[in-house]
């Protein structure tokens, strides 16, 4: 029984050379600097335009109406009409501009990150779950985009508006200005004291919802057990009590939220009342005009929103910072294998593989492969067997150049593989793994995956060779059937045959099979055997398998332990050894009645 390891997240370790959050954003925003500046200017203009109406109204009421200056009327009318029109147009361009920026930014960022992720080592992918990667690729990048489009513009606009409004308000009446100041302070105080409570309540609610969801997920995954034991009633009861708990917390959170917003509204309205009537009182004493009062009240209302938003900014920036840091972490991960700048281009390889004193380790203290030497001629089949952890799959990874050897060298057709162009080198390999790696696209495209330029006729021939005829006949659309929809598609055996067809089509010089039939039942495995034999005929192949029945006929069986070769030879040679380990393994499983090597 394995304990879960909380420290197994590689992203939690600091990686060297990680970019600072700001420089990451600037790097991706760089190409679009000019537009960004343009949008910022538009925002400033827009904010100023938005601040003008109260002044215009004041002018209207005081000067034009109050003093009867109807000569000014036409001029003012034109201005009053033009300004909102100009503002609306500015807003259109600003919105389009900032959205364009955000979209381009996130497009570039996601493309770069995705490419990068696909090229990272298998060890990285083994440690970092796909769900987490997707969260970062799609979720975090979306959050950064949101900040750039919505928050930056809003912050800038708030700044300009607040500055303008404050200046205007205080210049109209410093007495009322003081009252306004007190009101804002009370407002902010109310906000600060309540927000903690609200956040806390929200956190409690969210965690109770997490519990509820986990419970439901668990229950639904185990719905078979729930049914067979007739426990629907009990489970329903459990659900109801969890649901009630979460709803109680929801209610608490909602009440807290309402209290806060009602208090804010009260302060807001009382403040406004005070300012308005105070202003009118000042009108009576002759210190202000009525136009002044309306303008002042209008500006004071414009200050409350920004005041609250400013106090939120630090927290919002922190959230975004976390997202950016996560993205930077991923981008800082280095690829394991680098192509040399002067790499050789090669076409078809013949398939002569030679391991020369190959050594490999992931961690310098734990060698995985020690001094492995093997010479394989073209067309020879080699089986790698041994206990778990002896390095069989690692050898295959080295052969595919997913990692570079740390000692010795690996040669194919006489070339050290590190000298070859990666794309060309990998073209010469076909891979069938325990898990069929198929995609939600048509069968045709799936088979073509290794050889995108193949014709339909070629694909059909490959499918035929992989014994897929009966499967294709059952499907109404044949090769054009799209996989993966509704979750009920081909059986595992059929999927493996598809991967074999893919490999047949690619016609590689070297075949790699890593536990290709381990997940299949005996009957399916038998059905595949014919296809597999066709695939391996005449090609160099490396097979890792647990079922000894499948490797009886290979040219060479290599038994590994602790990263070294223990025994090597074909089946008859190894069986001839009286005290050979292979012989012992083979005999033991012959008698147990199940032809599997269980570790």
């Amino acid at each position: 029984m394995k304990k879960p390891d909380p420290n197994s997240d590689p992203a939690s370790t600091a990686s060297v050379g990680r970019e600072k959050p700001l420089s990451l954003i600037l790097r991706f925003m760089g190409p679009y600097r000019r537009r960004l500046v343009g949008v910022c200017l538009l925002t400033v203009v827009l904010s100023v335009l938005g601040m003008l109406p109260p002044l215009l109204l004041r002018f209207l009421v005081d000067s034009v109406l109050g003093e009867g200056r109807d000569d000014l009327f036409t001029g003012l009318a034109v201005v009053i009409i033009l300004i909102p029109v100009a503002a609306a147009s500015c807003r259109f361009f600003q919105t389009v501009g900032i959205t364009w920026l955000g979209q381009r930014f996130v497009f570039d960022l996601r493309a770069a990150l995705y490419q990068h992720l696909l090229g990272l080592s298998l060890r990285f992918h083994g440690k970092m779950s796909v769900g987490k990667l997707i969260n970062r690729l799609m979720g975090d990048s979306g959050r950064v985009q949101q900040m750039l489009t919505a928050q930056t513009v809003a912050a800038l606009s708030d700044l300009v508006c607040a500055a303008f409004a404050a200046t205007a308000a205080f210049s109209i009446s410093w007495r009322l200005g003081l009252v306004l100041l007190v009101m804002i302070l009370i407002f902010l105080y109310n906000y600060r004291t309540n927000i903690q409570e609200i956040r806390q309540a929200g956190r409690h609610q969210r965690s109770s919802m997490d519990l509820l969801s986990a419970g439901v997920q668990n229950r639904l995954t185990g719905s078979l057990a729930v049914k067979t034991f007739g426990r629907e009633g009990v489970e329903q009861g459990r659900f109801n009590s969890q649901s009630n708990d979460s709803l109680r917390l929801m209610q608490q959170a909602a009440f807290a939220g309402n209290r806060f917003s009602m208090n804010s509204q009260l302060i807001h309205q009382l403040g406004r009342t005070l300012l308005y009537f105070g202003g009118c009182g000042l009108v009576l004493t002759g210190r202000l005009s009525y136009g002044d009062v309306i303008a002042f009240v209008a500006y004071s209302m414009q200050l409350l929103g920004p005041a609250v938003r400013f106090s939120e900014i630090a927290r919002q920036l922190q959230d975004v910072r976390v997202s950016v840091e996560r993205l930077a972490e991923l981008l800082a991960e280095t690829q394991e294998v680098r192509e040399k700048p002067d790499a050789l281009r090669i076409a078809q390889l013949k398939g002569a593989v030679s391991f020369e004193h190959v050594a490999f380790h992931y961690d310098p203290e734990i060698p995985v492969i020690r001094d492995f030497s093997l010479n394989v001629v073209p067309g020879q089949s080699v089986a790698l067997i041994g206990p778990t952890g002896c390095g069989k799959s690692t050898l295959l990874s080295l052969l595919l150049r997913f990692y570079d050897v740390t000692g010795g060298s690996l040669r194919v057709d006489g070339h050290d593989i590190r000298d070859l162009r990666l794309a060309d080198y990998r073209q010469n390999f076909g891979v069938v793994l325990q898990e069929p790696m198929l995609f939600e696209t048509s069968l045709l495209e799936n088979i073509r995956y290794g050889c995108p330029s193949a014709s339909r006729a070629d694909v059909e021939a490959a499918a035929e060779a992989a014994e897929l005829r009966s499967c294709l006949d059952d499907l109404p659309e044949g090769l054009d059937t799209v996989l993966g929809q509704q979750g009920r598609d081909l059986s595992l055996g059929q999927k493996q045959r598809l991967t074999i067809a893919r490999a047949i089509l690619a016609d590689p010089a070297i075949m790699i099979m890593d536990e290709a039939t381990s997940a299949l039942d005996t009957y399916s495995e038998q059905a595949i055997q014919k296809a597999m034999d066709k695939l391996l005929a005449g090609r160099t192949s490396f097979v890792v398998a647990h079922r000894l029945s499948t490797i009886r006929n290979v040219d060479r069986i290599v038994l590994l332990d602790g990263g070294r070769i223990v025994e090597s030879g074909n089946h008859d040679e190894l069986m001839a050894r009286e005290d050979g380990r292979y012989r012992a393994m083979y005999l033991a499983h012959l008698s147990s009645g199940s032809m599997e090597v269980s570790e």
């Binding site: 029984m1 009053i80 029109v85 609306a88 389009v96 229950r219 639904l220 909602a254």
Partner: protein, 645 residues
């Protein structure tokens, strides 16, 4: 403005399902929803509605106070140009004519407009101030009450909806659960209902405020100055026309974008899962292309969307600001002519400005209604799913102990919406007290047959009887209590080992638990753990190997000491030695009990009294193991292959 969608069929982006609503269908949906979940709270909902409307319309009242202040208290008046000159002279002279009360004229610095105050100005102002305060305070209190009430109503609604959905989902047959993943069902229960709740609350508030504000606003304007009122009545329809023309395109683009987004998630998930294949076949540029295509489509649609929205926004802003400034300027002109007081003018202006905000919000109401409808539809689809497995009123308890046996007659089964027969006209007799084994390749229908017999799925044709009592007439609860079922995929519930083993029998005694664990060859493993039976397993706990999970599953079934036991390939993850041990124990415990065992291992089949070979849903061979060996068919072949002979 029509949006033309260019070619957007790309790999990894299947076309979007276009849903359409009939108006009648959606009205029925709403009626159903309201009746089922909100019926009991109708009075409270009405009160909330009214209070919200009241609160929203209070702004008009406040604007009216402003008018009174300007016209009566402060008595701000305009001065015509002709009088302007005269006023300068008259300023210090004395009262102006036309005022209702004795007046005192004041000169104000620096602008020379007249404020004529009545001597009670200060008193009137104070009275108005207090009225204003009272209005504000009482409205605040009333709104608090209505908000609280709406939360309580929402809570009740969510509680019942969740409970109903969850209950229904648990009762639906296994075939349904196979098609609808737990994740998706979970989102129906939690996320969908949460969204319905949030949106309904907003809908209530919005509809209460917007409709009332628009109507009352129009009425006020019409009464105050009917000419301006008529102008507004002419403008508002234009607004709606523009809006209804642009909305459909916006909605289409939005849906396309959200579909592309979910395809992007799907694409990246698939490729990152199979990154080995991507690297082995070195398909980086191909993958880049796929991603780019979808991502670029998303970007293009995003720009189209912002253009459309921007245009709509611009148009509505222009309409509203032109209308309000029109009112302002028109009113100002009337004031200069002397037909309108300043107070009235400002009142009209404010009212019009207040009026346009809800007009723009009407669009939101439309969106909310549609969105809630989509969600309701999805949830009602689940609630309306027919429950196949229900006890009829004359249901009998399970006949225990079984006398003759289990009879399967001409049974066929296919998944809903599929034509392929998974089980094809199978007839079989399982004698009581004997072991029957079903073997066959994967996909032959073995597990499905077991599910039918255990009444987890319903056959689409044929009948199953226990001691001549049809399965439909047997009480499900009674059936469950005497059968033990060990599935292929063991499900572990979050909890302790003990709670997992006792799942079917919560009040099991420790001796019984240990006996079951020993029978499943699990006891010594458990004793090796520091906390033994209290070890926490499941998501947050220790993870078990495949073999251990299967054995736990078996212990779970065995603890209830069932009369009838169904085993579905329960030794596949075990090695040969452990399997032999378990077979021995099972043999010991289950002699004289009826067992139906599905397996791929010859070793298991050889122990049974009767063996059935299933191929593509039909029986091809049946008989005792010895008979089948003689027949030299699939069974004999399998035996040869598996024993390596």
């Amino acid at each position: 403005m029509k949006v033309r969608f260019h070619h957007r069929r790309y790999a990894f982006r299947p076309p979007r399902d276009v849903e359409s609503f009939s108006f009648r269908g959606s009205r029925m949906l709403w009626m159903r929803f309201l009746k089922q979940y909100l019926r009991n709270d109708r009075k409270a909902i009405l009160i909330c509605f009214l209070l919200t409307a009241l609160n929203a319309n209070a702004v008009y009242l406040i604007a009216y106070y402003g008018r009174v202040v300007v016209d009566r208290v402060l008595m701000v008046q305009t001065v015509s140009p002709k009088q302007a000159g005269a006023v300068n002279v008259e300023r210090d002279r004395g009262p102006r004519s036309g005022a209702p009360d004795p007046i005192i004229s004041r000169r104000l610095e620096p602008r020379g407009w007249i404020v004529q105050c009545n001597p009670e100005a200060a008193r009137d102002l104070t009275i108005l101030f207090l009225l204003y305060l009272v209005t504000v305070l009482s409205l605040n209190v009333l709104t608090r009450i209505s908000l609280k009430a709406s939360i309580v109503i929402a809570r009740r609604m969510v509680a019942s909806m969740r409970s109903d959905l969850h209950k229904k989902i648990l009762l639906l047959p296994l075939a349904y659960h196979k098609v609808h993943t737990p994740g998706r069902l979970l989102s129906r229960i939690t996320s969908d209902i949460e969204q319905i709740q949030n949106m309904s609350q907003i809908l209530l508030r919005l509809s209460a405020s917007t409709f009332s504000m628009i109507i009352i606003g129009l009425v006020i304007v019409l009464f105050t100055e009917w000419r301006i009122g008529c102008l507004l009545l002419a403008v508002l329809p234009v607004y709606f026309v523009v809006f209804s023309r642009m909305r459909p395109s916006i909605r289409e683009v939005n849906r396309e974008m959200s579909h592309t987004n979910s395809c992007l998630y799907g694409l990246t998930a698939q490729k990152l899962e199979s990154v080995k294949a991507v690297q082995a076949y070195h398909r980086f540029s191909g993958e880049k292309l796929h991603f780019h295509r979808l991502s670029a489509l998303f970007l293009r649609d995003g720009l189209t969307l912002v253009q459309l929205r921007g245009r709509l926004q611009w148009t509505s802003e222009i309409i509203s600001c032109l209308s309000t400034t029109g009112v302002l300027l028109g009113g100002a002109w009337l004031v200069l002519k002397g037909d309108l007081t300043i107070g009235r003018m400002l009142f009209l202006y404010e009212t019009t400005a207040i009026l346009f905000a809800p007009v723009m919000q009407l669009s939101w109401i439309n969106i909310l209604v549609t969105n809630i409808q989509v969600l309701l539809r999805r949830d009602y689809r689940i609630l309306d799913e027919p429950l196949q497995i229900e006890d009829p009123p004359d249901a009998q308890p399970m006949p225990v102990p079984l006398c003759s046996g289990l009879c399967i007659q001409n049974v066929s089964f296919s998944y809903p919406e599929e034509e392929r027969l998974v089980i094809n006209d199978v007839s079989l007799f399982v004698p009581a007290g004997k072991w029957t084994c079903i073997i066959g390749e994967s996909g032959s229908g073995k597990s499905t047959l077991l599910n039918l017999v255990a009444r987890i799925d319903e056959p689409t044709a044929g009948s199953i009887t226990y001691d001549d009592i049809p399965l439909e007439k047997i009480k499900t609860a009674s059936l469950r209590s005497v059968t033990g079922f060990v599935p292929q995929e063991a499900c572990i519930f979050s909890g302790t080992i003990r709670s997992n083993i006792c799942y079917g029998m919560p009040r099991a005694q420790p001796a019984e638990i240990i006996a079951a664990a020993q029978a499943a060859d699990l006891h010594h493993h458990i004793m090796e753990q520091p906390v033994k039976y209290e070890t926490v397993i499941g998501e947050k706990g220790v993870s078990l190997s495949g073999g251990q999970r299967q054995r736990l599953s078996m212990a779970r079934a065995l603890i209830t000491q069932p009369e009838l036991i169904f085993l579905d390939d329960c030794t596949s993850a075990l090695d040969a030695q452990t399997e032999k041990r378990i077979q021995k124990t099972l043999h010991h415990i289950l002699t004289d009990r009826t067992a139906l065992i599905v397996s791929q291992r010859i070793s298991m089949a050889a122990l049974c009294d009767q063996v059935i070979v299933l191929q593509k849903g039909s029986i091809v061979e049946s008989g005792t193991p010895e008979e089948l060996r003689q027949q030299n068919g699939y069974f004999a072949d399998l035996e040869r292959r598996q024993t390596g002979a």
